[in-house]
Structures are given as structure tokens and as C-alpha cells.
């Protein structure tokens, strides 16, 4: 899986080049127009940090940031986002250079199996940018699109609260 990846099947006639700006780099894909953004990221760009939990917008595991706004990447097509700035978990921070939210998730044990975690972190990044959540109750309400079957919810909320405080006091 390289920067250029393409669909080979029945849709080869329909396949078209699509350039996506992902985590600060332009990536060219050759995909059928009905390829979801999620499958484009996972199967064509090898960015498997974004997870597929339901493929129906019901679980939030596939949450990414498009122009800073959190969306379910399974409910949108890759071709619709040419020219947009896409940020996935791989663009939030890396081992050795973790984003404060990622560090807060580790410190608060805000995950167990880790499968919903990239979606929770991307969603929380979007939530903090929205500036709407001020209380734990508001965080809970506005994070309710991101399911966690391991039941780490109280720790996730604690990690987000912590990261929000850090963001507020940052110079």
C-alpha cells in the first residue's frame, strides 16, 4: 500500500484519481467514486488507525476531522473531500510526540481494547475545538456518538476534562 493505490475490479472504468490532503500531505488515490472516506483511508492509504466498527455511522469508531470538524468517515465518500484538510489519528500525534489528549488517555486509562480510541480522541479533539462542552455532563452528551464497549467512559470523560483544562491554560 503506497501513496498511489487503486481499485482493480469491475469499477476500473469508473475509477478516477482523487487527491486528498491527509495529515498535511497530498495523497493520490485511484478509486471508484463510491469508495467511502473510511475505506479510502484504511484500504487505499494504509491509514488503519481510523477504525471500522459498524460502517453505518452508529458507533463513531471511524471519526476523523475534516477541516477541523469531526465526522463519521464511513458516511461520506472519499471523492467528496478533494481540497479539504483531513486529519486522522495518525496526524494527531505519534509515539514519542504524543498530543496532550493522547497522553491524558494513557494517564487516565481511558481505553482498554483500544479499538474505539482513535475515534474517541479525534472526536474529543473536535469537541474541544467546538468549545461547546464546559461540564462533564456536556462532555458526556456531546461524546455520545462514540461508543466504547469496554466501558471506559468515566475515564474518557476524565481524560477529556484534563486535556480541556490544559488547553485553556496553554499560552
Amino acid at each position: 500500500m503506497g501513496t498511489e493505490a487503486s481499485a482493480a475490479g469491475v469499477f476500473s472504468a469508473a475509477v478516477r484519481p482523487v487527491t486528498l490532503s491527509v495529515n498535511g500531505a497530498d495523497r493520490e488515490l485511484r478509486i471508484a467514486p463510491w469508495t467511502t472516506l473510511l475505506d479510502g483511508l484504511r484500504e487505499y492509504l494504509g491509514l488503519t488507525g481510523t477504525k471500522k466498527g459498524c460502517d453505518h455511522g452508529q458507533c463513531g469508531a471511524c471519526t476523523v476531522l475534516v477541516d477541523g470538524v469531526r465526522i463519521n468517515s464511513c458516511l461520506t465518500l472519499a471523492v467528496m473531500h478533494e481540497g479539504a484538510t483531513i486529519r486522522t489519528i495518525e496526524g494527531i500525534g505519534a509515539e514519542g510526540a504524543l498530543h496532550p489528549l493522547q497522553q491524558a488517555f494513557i494517564d487516565h486509562d481511558a481505553f482498554q481494547c483500544g479499538y474505539c480510541t482513535p475515534g474517541q480522541i479525534c472526536s474529543a479533539t473536535g469537541l474541544i475545538a467546538e468549545g461547546r462542552a464546559r461540564t462533564p455532563e456536556e462532555i458526556r452528551e456531546l461524546m455520545s456518538g462514540n461508543l466504547c464497549r469496554c466501558g471506559a467512559y468515566p475515564n474518557i470523560v476524565a481524560a477529556i476534562e484534563h486535556a480541556m483544562r490544559v488547553a485553556e491554560t496553554a499560552p
Binding site: W34, L47, G93, G114, G151, P154
Partner: protein, 743 residues
């Protein structure tokens, strides 16, 4: 001895990989020239495929093959060959075996194509015609056909023997209740769908990346079903996106992916859809009946507990449902019955604390009902019937600090301030209720192996074929290794989830920390002994006259406590001896005499507060205190999370979770995460408090560990149901307690 890592709140060592998206799950391993398989599922519950037409799918450019029962390769013939490590008695389901349909959404074809979009489209073109047979999926309607399973499932305790004469004692008891409790189908629904990526290599070697709780269980299943050599099949599963029991048995996607890879001589990935996640493995639908007879002072005189659970037509899935009431309460007259009903569903499977969640829900609700019948405090009634031995077989426990759980949980929760009268507490338009329940689970130690390898650095690697499904196995293995050899935890690397590693049982039953932990410790102790010999044997060794009992291993050195001059760094010992690595593999199993002499269990006391809006019928859980006695706690952080996660799943069980069958179609209707409700952020209070009650137990396992994976869910649903009764005066005996039942 003071500990650096054990018993501390150590952050997960696999945390950075998980929060950055670098952790790879089964369906994410990059493989060159990969093909994609999409499963076609049956639309009927029972019958026969009369015609299956793959022509249109095969005509799609990019489609490589369509597999059905008509062109599947040869597989094993005997049932024995299909039975995995945890299979119940019976004939395991065989994917694409013949034209028979055994349950709705059974896989009937696998479409393999060069890319996912093509495979998904072509799968929609496979035409299947059926001759529909009559199906039975309704437990309530079929309960008259219930039978005692003739063959017991391995590792599952049969119902206890009867004690005294329960029928007569019930008839004679001055106070009594008889109640029925119903629990629905529930699906595990781990966030990660089941997936397998098979890397096909020359000469037929397969590397199988599978979502599983037992890599060696899957490896032996594959080799025996397909007649492959173990040396040619390696199963790898470093990260598992949740499983809760659904990954104990090999699921059908691994069969299909391996079948396609060996036939096509190509690499293949098969990922199930969320809808297909409802086509196997679920908590069985049960009906339970409990009768209790008591003296007015609360002393139990008689107890009967009967449970009926559904199973498939082809296997007798069994779990331990009725034993828990017998374990917890010392009624002199008691009887226990556990029966199955055959239904046209896939086989049920172990789901977090299988059996105990259901049996304990029933008995702990019944005890609450009896407390109201007798006008006694529910906690006082439990204490009046407290037992220091396992009432099922008379054995003492290795330890049982349940009394301390009750006491510490009640104190933390403020139980003494409770007004026992239902509907006595309100705030605004909400009724407030407080309820409590007991929890219990097994504390098993299984035979397991681990390897430790120490190199200069120092660098220490520990390895075992076990799994980490979010439970924290990586972290406790690293803690135990670092502690035993006195190296920083950062110097420890952990390998697991690979069938080529030292032998491990499946990761389940809450036994992993005790079992793998003991093996890791033993392997590290052997390395420690070897290392000490090297250090003592150095020329002019400062430890020349020391013995291993009196030295400490700390900060990467071996030294005499209190005398810093008498110290040998690990690196120096290795270098001086010209040894590149010290390695040891150890296998540790349970003590057989101890197993026979003692019962071994974890216990808990769960206290819950609910608020109910009567006009809307909405119940919210606002506070939970769970006091757990589980022996030694290796990691306060991950251990606390385990119990908290169990409580959250228990809240789901109490209020949300239910897979709804349409019996006319024999099909689950809400097979998605929008309609199968699991708790979301807004459903879960911040105030879930976990108390670990001190319990020193050197008997239960070498590390004194009992395990935490399941105890958190047990009792939670009963505590919430009891709290809802206290709030509203309504006793709901069929789960989940949804709005319609409270209005």
C-alpha cells in the same frame, strides 16, 4: 518487601500504540496482493438451499471466486476434528458444509475479489433459493421440551446435588416467595468486527492474523479442519478490539479466509459486517424460577433454583447458572435444576461471566424480594445467611472477604442512611432508589507457560501465547518481569498473541492474570537464579559469599541490601561471562491437592443509585460502588478499569441490552448498533467507584491473584433492578428494564 511495580497504578505499556492508531488489529495487517472476501448470509432460519447461482457475481470483472457448499474444498469429516478447545458437546457448525440451513444469517457463500468494493457489490448478486423448513426460535413457547444435557460441557460445573428436602421445607416454611426471571438474548458486540487476514506464502505456509482470544486454539482448529501441518500455520493476534468471550472459539470468518487462501493460493482478508456479528455467539435467552422459604428473622430454610437456557440444534452449550445461589447461601434444603431447549439459532457462547450474570441476577433479585417480604434490610438479610464455606460441596474457600465487601461498600455508599420504603426518596420530578446485590465468580489457575530472555542493556523479553483483549495482559506481564528481575519496566518487552510462543490456554474465565502471571514469574525467577550464579562467579565478585535469599535485584543490579559496595550490574555479569542472553521457559499449573481441598472464588458487593422519571419512564444510574475481593491486585489502574467496564456492561444488561427476535422469521431484528443499545457516554455516571478489599490469599494461585475480568458485571444488574424497585415500587423481572416496563 516493598514493590516497585506490582500492586501499583501502572499505565498500560501498550498505551502509546493504541492512542496513536499504530496498534494493528486482525483486519489491518498490510499484505501484498491481498484479495477481499465478503460473506453472503442466509435469509431463512431453517431449511435447505435448493439453488445457488453465482454466475452473475463471477461475471463481475475483478471477482476471483465465489465459494459455496457446492465447490468448497474438502474438509475434515469427523466432528472431533471440528471441536475446538472450548467447544460444548455436540457437532460444531461447519461453514459451507452442505445445503442445510441451521440458523438465520448462516454464511452461505464467500465472494472473493481483487478489491473490497467489487467483492461487496458481487456478493449482492449471488442468488440463493431456499426450501424453507419449520423453525423454532421461541424459548418460552418451547420450554416444555427442556431437557437435562446428557453430556456435560468440559470445565463447567454441573448443578449442585440437592440438599435436604426442598419441597417439604418450602411447604413448611413460615414465609416464602416464588418468582420467575427472564433474560433476553444479548450479543457481545466488541467494537472490532471479527476479521481474519491470511498471508499466503509459497509452499502453502499460512500466517493467519485473526481476531481471537486463543491463537493456539485457532491454530489447532485450522490444522485439524483443513489437514494442515502445524509448522505451516502461524496464528497472530497482538491486539484484539474487545471480545468478552466471543473470541474464545474460532469464528466462521477464519474458516472462510483460510479456505479461500489455500484454494486460491492467494492472500485473503475476510471482515464481517456489524449485522453479521449477530449471526454467532450470544448470551443465551433464559427463564429462571426461584423459590425461597425463610423464618421471619431471615434465616433461609429452603431454596430452589431452576434455569432453562436456549441452545442450538447441533450443540449443547452449557454455562453455570444455578450454582451461584447454592454457593452464596446456606439453606439446609435446596435443589438445583439446569436444562436446555433446542432452538434454530446459532450456538450461544460464553459472554462475560457466563451463567453468573444470569444466575446471580435472579438470586440477588429474589433475596431483595424476600427482604421486603420479611421487612428486613436487604443487606442484613444477606448477612443473616452469610456462609464461610462453599455450601455446594462443603469446602472452605481459599479466602472469602465478602463480609468486608459488604461493610466497606455500604459505608462508602452511605447505605445506613437508606429509608427502606419504596418511593420514599425524591428530588424534583425524579424518584431515587438505592439497591444492592452480591457478586461472585471463579478464581481459576490454569496451566500455562512463559519464556523470559535477559540481554545486555539490560533488556528483558517475556513471551507467552496468551492474549490481551483490553484486559491489560501486556502490562501485568511487564510489571511481573520488571519486579522479579529488578529492571525498569521500560526495559521489558512483551510478546503475546502468537501461536509460536510458549503454550497458553485461551484468554478467558478471568484466569489469565493468575496463570500467565505465575508462568512469567517462574521463568523470570529461573533467569534470576542463572544471573545470580554468573554474578557470584565473577572474579573477585562482591557477591562471592552471598546467597540468593539475601540479595536484591533492583535498578538493573544484583546487590546486598544496605551495602552499595557489594553490587554487580546485570550487564557486567552477562559481559564477564561472555553470555549474550539468559533464557528460561517455565510451565506452571494449579496445585491438584489444593484444587480438591478448597473452593476458589472472587466476591463483590455492588451498591447502585438510580433516578427514575416516572412520567417518561426513564431510569438513569447515577452512582455505583462496587467493593471487590479478588486476592492480590497486580495493577490498580488496569484492574480498576476492568471492574468499572464490567459495571458499565452490567448497566447495559439492566437497562439497555436485548437482541430482539422476530419468531415468525426466526431472525434477530435489531442487528445493528443503533437498535441494539449498549451504554453510551450519556448513560454512564462519573461516579463508578471501585473498592479493592484487602484479601491476602497465597493459596489461590502462586501470585495470590484471583482475576478481575468478570466479577465487575456480576451482581450489577440485580443491584440496579433492586434500586429501581426501591425508587418506584415496581419489580421488573424480565431484563432489560426499559421504559415500557416502568410506565
Amino acid at each position: 518487601m516493598s514493590m516497585t511495580y506490582l500492586g501499583k497504578a501502572v499505565s498500560r505499556v501498550d498505551g502509546p500504540a493504541k492512542v496513536t492508531g499504530a496498534a494493528r488489529y486482525a483486519g489491518e495487517f498490510p499484505v501484498p496482493e491481498l484479495t477481499y472476501g465478503v460473506v453472503v448470509s442466509s435469509t431463512i432460519a431453517r431449511g435447505k438451499i435448493t439453488r445457488i447461482d453465482s454466475a452473475a457475481a463471477l461475471g463481475v470483472p475483478g471477482v476471483v471466486q465465489v465459494f459455496t457448499h457446492e465447490n468448497r474444498p474438502h474438509t475434515a469429516y469427523l466432528n472431533r476434528s471440528w471441536r475446538d478447545e472450548v467447544a460444548p458437546p455436540g457437532a460444531p457448525f461447519r461453514p459451507l458444509y452442505d445445503a442445510e440451513i441451521h440458523f438465520s444469517a448462516q454464511p452461505v457463500a464467500l465472494v472473493v475479489a481483487e478489491d473490497f468494493e467489487t467483492a461487496r457489490y458481487a456478493a449482492s448478486l449471488v442468488r440463493v433459493e431456499y426450501e424453507q423448513g419449520p423453525h423454532t426460535t421461541d424459548l418460552e413457547r418451547e420450554r416444555g421440551t427442556a431437557y437435562v444435557p446428557p453430556k456435560k460441557r468440559n470445565g463447567i460445573a454441573p448443578p449442585p446435588d440437592p440438599r435436604g428436602n426442598a419441597v417439604e421445607a418450602l411447604a413448611a416454611a413460615p414465609r416464602k416467595i416464588a418468582r420467575q426471571y427472564v433474560s433476553p438474548f444479548e450479543h457481545h458486540n466488541p467494537m472490532e468486527p471479527f476479521a481474519t487476514t491470511v498471508l499466503w506464502q509459497d509452499a502453502g505456509r499460512l500466517t493467519v492474523f485473526d481476531k481471537t482470544q486463543g491463537v493456539q486454539n485457532v491454530q489447532s482448529y485450522i490444522t485439524s479442519v483443513f489437514g494442515l501441518k502445524a509448522a505451516n500455520v502461524q496464528v497472530i493476534s497482538p491486539f484484539v478490539g474487545g471480545a468478552f468471550g466471543s473470541g474464545l472459539r474460532p469464528q466462521y470468518q477464519v474458516f472462510l479466509a483460510v479456505m479461500a487462501a489455500t484454494e486460491l493460493e492467494r492472500s485473503v482478508r475476510v471482515t464481517l459486517t456489524r449485522q453479521q456479528m449477530f449471526s454467532f455467539s450470544y448470551r443465551p435467552n433464559t427463564i429462571q424460577a426461584i423459590s425461597l422459604g425463610a423464618r421471619p428473622d431471615g434465616k433461609l430454610l429452603a431454596l430452589t433454583h431452576e434455569a432453562i437456557g436456549n441452545t442450538s440444534q447441533h450443540e449443547d452449550y452449557q454455562e453455570t447458572v444455578v450454582n451461584w445461589s447454592g454457593l452464596l447461601y446456606g439453606a439446609e434444603n435446596a435443589s438445583f435444576i439446569y436444562k436446555l431447549v433446542k432452538t434454530d439459532w446459532a450456538s450461544p457462547a460464553d459472554m462475560r461471566a457466563p451463567g453468573a450474570t444470569l444466575g446471580v441476577f435472579a438470586i440477588e433479585t429474589a433475596i431483595d424480594e424476600l427482604a421486603y417480604e420479611l421487612s428486613l434490610d436487604p443487606l442484613a438479610l444477606r448477612l443473616a445467611n452469610y456462609t464461610e464455606r462453599d455450601e455446594n460441596d462443603g469446602k472452605p474457600f481459599t479466602s472469602k472477604e465478602l463480609r468486608a465487601c459488604y461493610q466497606q461498600g455500604a459505608e462508602r455508599f452511605g447505605w445506613s442512611k437508606r429509608n427502606p420504603a419504596p418511593r420514599s426518596m425524591t428530588e424534583g420530578r425524579e424518584l431515587i432508589g438505592w439497591g444492592m446485590a452480591t457478586g461472585a465468580w471463579e478464581a481459576l489457575h490454569m496451566k500455562a507457560a512463559a519464556r523470559a530472555t535477559l540481554r545486555a542493556g539490560p533488556m528483558l523479553e517475556v513471551a507467552s501465547a496468551t492474549a490481551d483483549i483490553g484486559t491489560g495482559t501486556y502490562t501485568i506481564m511487564a510489571q511481573i518481569a520488571a519486579e522479579t528481575l529488578g529492571v525498569p519496566i521500560e526495559a521489558v518487552s512483551v510478546k503475546l498473541g502468537d501461536s509460536s510462543l510458549p503454550k497458553s490456554p485461551i484468554e478467558g474465565g478471568s484466569w489469565t492474570a493468575a496463570s500467565i502471571g505465575a508462568a512469567v514469574q517462574a521463568a523470570c525467577e529461573t533467569v534470576r537464579g542463572k544471573l545470580f550464579k554468573l554474578a557470584r562467579g565473577l572474579e573477585n565478585s562482591p557477591l562471592a559469599n552471598a546467597d540468593i535469599e539475601h540479595v536484591e535485584f533492583a535498578d538493573g543490579t544484583i546487590r546486598l541490601p544496605g551495602d552499595p559496595s557489594r553490587s554487580v550490574p546485570i550487564d557486567r555479569a552477562l559481559a564477564a561471562a561472555g553470555t549474550e542472553a539468559l533464557e528460561a521457559e517455565e510451565t506452571v499449573g494449579p496445585g491438584l491437592i489444593s484444587s480438591r481441598r478448597f473452593s476458589r472464588n472472587t466476591h463483590s458487593a455492588v451498591f447502585a443509585e438510580v433516578r427514575v422519571d416516572e412520567e417518561l419512564g426513564i431510569a438513569r444510574v447515577t452512582r455505583v460502588v462496587n467493593a471487590v475481593a479478588a486476592g492480590r491486585i497486580l495493577n490498580l489502574k488496569t484492574g480498576g478499569s476492568q471492574v468499572m467496564g464490567g459495571v458499565v456492561m452490567g448497566i447495559g444488561m439492566a437497562l439497555h441490552e436485548e437482541t430482539m427476535p422476530d419468531h415468525a422469521l426466526g431472525r434477530f431484528m435489531n442487528h445493528n448498533l443503533a437498535e441494539y443499545h449498549i451504554p453510551v457516554h450519556a448513560d454512564i455516571p462519573a461516579a463508578i467507584e471501585v473498592i479493592f478489599v484487602e484479601e491476602h490469599d497465597p493459596e489461590v494461585s502462586p501470585l495470590g491473584v484471583k482475576g478481575l475480568g468478570e466479577i465487575g458485571i456480576v451482581g450489577t444488574a440485580a443491584a440496579i433492578g433492586n434500586a429501581i424497585y426501591h425508587a418506584t415500587g415496581k419489580r421488573v423481572r424480565d431484563l432489560p428494564i426499559t421504559i415500557d416496563k416502568l410506565l
